[in-house]
Amino acid sequence: MNPQVLTAMPEQIIYLVDDDEALRDSLIWLLESQGFKVKGYPSAEAFLPEIRPDMTGCLLLDVRMPGGMSGLELHDRLRASFCTLPVIFITGHGDVPMAVSALKKGAVDFIEKPFNDEALLRQVRQCLAQEEENRARRRQDAEVSRRLGQLTQREREVLDLIILGKLNKQIADVLGISIKTVEVHRARVMEKMGAQSLAELVQSVMAIEGVNRG
């Protein structure tokens, strides 16, 4: 939307966790050949210190890693750290039920070995695009929230009534103030919220209010 915001966006990185070195190395080779930036980790434990809430990109995660933390566990740890990085599980033969339970917990997708490289690349691209969209929406919501926080108590009350579709007169009645005063508050709310129209105002507030109330 806003070009400035896009340029400020951090670069998307594909994190790869797989205990099989050959597979990891060959995947990095393949993904880099398509221009992705890839970071490889031999185990879940090695990846743990990298976890940050503002990570962008996606995580390619092997479900079965004998002798250490499993892919599913790492996924739980990731969510527990409020990291919204989307996860694609790589599963072997017979690991399908495991992958299904991972999907239920919020993983984006899984891919079964042996996999077609085209399919993998398609899934990764799709995932990154989805991730970027989600991040932009979250950023906008954060902006509306910040602006809502700047409203005074009275302005907030007026805003709530506006969203309910009340006329200025009705608002004045409910709050026991004059229509003039309502109009002043209304103008200030519009200004503070940076909304050009009433529809824009309602939409932006509803988006985050809906999240908060849900």
Partner: protein
């Protein structure tokens, strides 16, 4: 024994003395008696002689006196005769007138009081004159009586005075008349008469002393008494003398009888005195004799006492030298009694006692008796304890000593003292209170423990009666009742518990045990109560009880049987409910061996004999293992330890847990495990495929990635050759890796080839059927096995053949799932076939197979079961064919199928066995 030897000797030495003295004393006693009798006789004779002499003298005196009295009377009478003759002469001379007569006669009468009348009697025999004037007799004119006249006549005739016979006149007066004739010339003119009163004669003619001395009587010749001068009859008739009163001569006699100046009694007095004295002397002699005899007896007794005394008796001089000792010295100390006199007592004393004894003896000098105990040397050198009682008599300068052997008593005393001290200390250290009451219920004794227990002092308690101070006020009736029971002897032998009051008001629970108090004589003098403070014990007991109950509840709640048995005697001391319910509720007290449980000497069970363990060696593990109870056919895990029991001895404590179920589960698990193992080879094949796939995925995936990476770079044209080269090398390495995996699989398959051994087919079949038991039961089927025991072993891989049988049995049972319950019988048979092979057939009565189905039955991936993999029969056939046998199926004529397979016998395959092993 000692006494017995000495006593007879003492007897013989003493016995003769009394006999001799008795004989001698008998003779002694005749002499004084004889002397006394002789003396009495002499005295009596003497007295008699004297009395005779005295009587003679008296008689002589009497005669003389009487003669003298008669003479006196004669003189007086002669005087009167002369007076009368005078008168007569005067008268005859006529010189005499009447008046003169009267005067002279009266005068004469007055002078001679024995005369009462004087008269002149004329010849006419009448009284003419008379005197005295006042006479009432002889009145003038009175005629004479005849008698008188005779006398007158005689007087006239004779011419001399004549006395008439005495007679008693009218006045009762005995009179004597004298007639003196008056001669006038030749004629006679009458006579002068004088009348004597015989009474007066006696009173006036004898002197007073005479009359006092004698009784005088005038008696006529014929004996009658005319006059008597005294009425006193106390005369001595023996002393009497009579004389004729002359001159009257007409028989009148004067009799004098001496008065009894002394009574006959008096006369006999000396004799009586002598006799009495003699008797007295005899009596006193007798008394003296009796006394003497008593004395002798006493002395004899004293001698015997001295000689026979069991105590030692001795007489000592004041300086402590023996004077005399009795035989007891010999008996007790061993010294002959005759040896001791002359030796000082100090010689025989124990050196330690000398000083004290000398002190005592010195004290005796002051006269006070002394009693002391010393040790005395015996003849045999030992010492004996003696108690001496010594008394001194200073006048005699002697000491009399009695010594009593108290060696026994001393040791007894010593023992008693020790016993007493022991009891005392016991009593004082006793924490049990003792309280004695007499039969009336009065407290006679309490021990210190009782006092400290109750807080009341001994003084406060002893002597008190119910209610006792320690009775709480609120419980007196009950205690009174108990006391009454106690006194009646009905106190319970198990004692009774009562709550009593301490002095400070606290209550305490006490337990009383009552027993009768018996004195030395065996009489009951009261009741003894032992009192235990059970306040604390009671509380503890309650706690213990609770703890015990908890303990018992826990132990009884255990499924495991727990028992404790004495290590030595094997007796069961404790058993919990689980044990009792298994082995019987009378288990406690019986022997462990009776139940077939481990008992000590059995070295199968014990590596150490628990009977030899000392309490210091425990606790110690004795046995830990599983046993089967033959009665209940259940399995128990028994863990046995040697521990120290509550009373200190070593016991065996065993906990037997019923592990039948666990064992069954274990068994099933083991079977399961076995089944898994047996099927593992089959499963391994599947797993191998899966693992192979996964393992191969990695290198294959990597190769694909490297290749695609290269392709992409080469397409874009932006690449470096070295990078492409590196990736291709890596891909080549991954291809190698895949090759290694394939090789590994091959090796594995090679390793799992069958191993053939001689195998008993019966065992194989039994194992396989046993393995299926659970499934068989679940499906309500039955498996009949008919394998001859003498079937020779087959040469095969037992596990694989078992797998085949298992498969066939399983298929058969599952095929009969829809058959009626009674038809669900699977028959497993084995036997030799005509080709000399063992043939096994599994016959079911299931749904059977169509011709088509039978044809496809052994091809891979064919199955009639919904969950089947279709591998079973194919593998079975492969196994049997590997063993050079054959597996096929025939329809069962009775419905269902018959699966058969053959196996070669062992002896036919010895060579191939060797090959196989090689």
């Amino acid at each position: 024994m000692h006494d017995g030897r000495q006593m007879p000797k003492t007897d013989t030495s003493v016995a003769p003395a009394p006999v001799v003295s008795r004989v001698r004393s008998a003779w002694y006693w005749i002499v004084p008696y004889g002397a006394v009798l002789l003396f009495a006789f002499t005295m009596l004779t003497l007295a008699w002689v004297l009395q005779r002499q005295d009587a003679e003298a008296q008689r002589n005196a009497l005669a003389r006196d009487v003669q003298w009295a008669e003479q006196t009377m004669r003189l007086h009478m002669q005087g009167t005769e002369e007076f009368l003759a005078q008168l007569a002469r005067e008268m005859a001379g006529g010189d005499l007138d009447r008046d003169a007569f009267q005067i002279r006669a009266s005068q004469h009468i007055a002078n001679n009081p024995e005369l009462i009348n004087v008269a002149w009697v004329a010849a006419d025999q009448r009284v003419h004159w008379t005197a005295p004037f006042d006479t009432t007799d002889w009145l003038v004119g009175d005629p004479l009586s005849g008698v008188q006249a005779v006398v007158l006549a005689r007087a006239r005739s004779q011419g001399r005075p004549v006395y008439g016979e005495a007679y008693v006149n009218g006045r009762a007066t005995p009179v004597l008349e004298v007639y003196v004739p008056i001669q006038q010339g030749r004629s006679t003119i009458g006579a002068m008469v004088a009348v004597y009163s015989l009474d007066r004669m006696m009173t006036h003619l004898v002197p007073t002393w005479f009359a006092e001395k004698y009784r005088l009587t005038f008696t006529q010749p014929r004996g009658e008494v005319l006059a008597i001068n005294s009425a006193v009859n106390t005369v001595d008739e023996n002393l009497s003398h009579a004389v004729q009163l002359e001159p009257p001569g007409n028989g009148l006699r004067l009799v004098a009888t001496a008065y009894q100046t002394e009574s006959p009694l008096m006369r006999l007095l000396p004799l009586a005195l002598i006799a009495g004295l003699s008797l007295f002397v005899l009596w006193s002699l007798w008394l003296v004799r009796a006394h003497m005899q008593r004395r002798v007896r006493v002395e004899r007794e004293r001698d015997q006492l001295f000689n026979l005394s069991l105590d030692m008796l001795a007489i000592l001089s004041l300086d402590g030298v023996f004077r005399r000792c009795n035989p007891a010295f010999e008996r007790i100390l061993g010294y002959p009694p005759e040896e001791l006199p002359g030796r000082p007592i100090v010689d025989f004393l124990h050196p330690e006692d000398v000083a004290a004894t000398i002190d005592e003896l010195r004290g005796l000098a002051s006269g006070a008796p002394a009693t002391f105990e010393t040790r005395c040397l015996c003849a045999d050198g030992s010492y004996k304890w003696l108690v001496w009682s010594v008394n001194s008599v200073r006048e005699e300068k002697l000491m009399y000593a009695v010594a009593h052997d108290i060696t026994g008593r001393k040791s007894a005393e010593e023992a008693l003292r020790a016993e007493y001290a022991f009891r005392k200390s016991m009593e004082e250290s006793l924490i049990t209170g003792l309280r004695a009451i007499d039969l009336t219920g009065r407290i006679t004794y309490v021990n210190p423990a009782f006092c400290s227990m109750t807080g009341w002092s001994q003084e406060e308690l002893v002597g008190s009666q119910a209610p006792f101070p320690y009775w709480p006020r609120d419980n007196r009736e009950a205690l009174q009742q108990t006391l009454a029971l106690t006194l009646a002897g009905n106190a319970p032998s198990t004692g009774f518990e009562k709550r009593i009051r301490r002095k400070n008001g606290e209550r305490m629970d006490a337990r009383f045990y009552i027993s009768p108090l018996i004195d030395a004589a065996g009489r009951q003098t009261g009741w003894m109560a032992s009192v235990t403070d059970i306040t604390e014990p009671k509380r503890i007991r309650a706690q213990l009880q609770v703890a015990h109950e908890r303990f018992v509840v826990v132990l009884d709640g255990l499924d495991a049987a727990v028992y404790v048995a004495d290590a030595a005697s094997d007796e069961i001391l404790f058993a919990n409910r689980a044990f009792k319910s298994i082995y019987g509720f009378d288990a406690v007290g019986r022997r462990v061996g009776e139940f077939g449980l481990p008992t000590p000497p059995n070295t199968l069970w014990y590596d150490v004999d628990p009977r030899r363990l000392s309490p210091d060696d425990v606790p110690r593990e004795l046995y830990d293992g599983e046993l089967r109870n033959d009665h209940s056919e259940r399995w128990y895990h028994i863990r046995e330890r040697a521990i120290r029991w509550v009373d200190g001895r070593v016991v065996r404590m065993a906990i037997a847990t019923d592990v039948t179920d666990r064992k069954r589960v274990d068994e099933e698990n083991r079977a399961q495990q076995e089944r898994l193992q047996r099927t593992s080879r089959l499963i391994t094949m599947g797993e191998m495929a899966s693992t192979l796939a996964h393992e191969l995925n990695q290198p294959l995936g990597a190769i694909a990635n490297y290749a695609m990476g290269c392709v992409n770079r080469l397409k874009s044209g932006e690449y470096r050759t070295e990078d492409i080269l590196g990736a291709m090398q890596k891909a080549s390495a991954q291809a190698e890796r895949a090759g290694k995996i394939i090789r590994r699989v091959r090796e594995f398959v090679k390793k799992s080839e069958p191993r053939r051994h001689p195998v008993s087919l019966a065992e194989v079949v039994e194992d396989a059927v046993g393995f299926m038991e659970v499934d068989v039961r679940r499906l309500g089927a039955r498996v009949e096995v008919q394998v001859p025991l003498d079937l020779p072993p087959v040469f095969a891989d037992g596990v694989m053949i078992e797998q085949v049988v298992l498969n066939l049995v399983k298929n058969g049972i599952e095929a009969m799932g829809d058959a009626p319950a009674e038809a669900r019988v699977l028959l497993v048979e084995a036997g030799l076939n005509p080709e000399g092979q063992v043939q096994v057939s599994v016959t079911d009565r299931g749904h059977g197979l169509s011709e088509d189905a039978r044809a496809k039955l052994f091809s891979p991936f064919y199955t009639t079961k919904s969950e089947g993999m279709g591998m079973g029969l194919n593998i079975c056939r492969s196994i049997i064919e590997f063993h050079e046998g054959r597996l096929w199926v025939d329809p069962n004529p009775a419905g269902g199928c018959i699966f058969r397979f053959t196996l070669p016998l062992e002896n036919l395959n010895e060579s191939s066995s060797a090959d196989s092993d090689a």
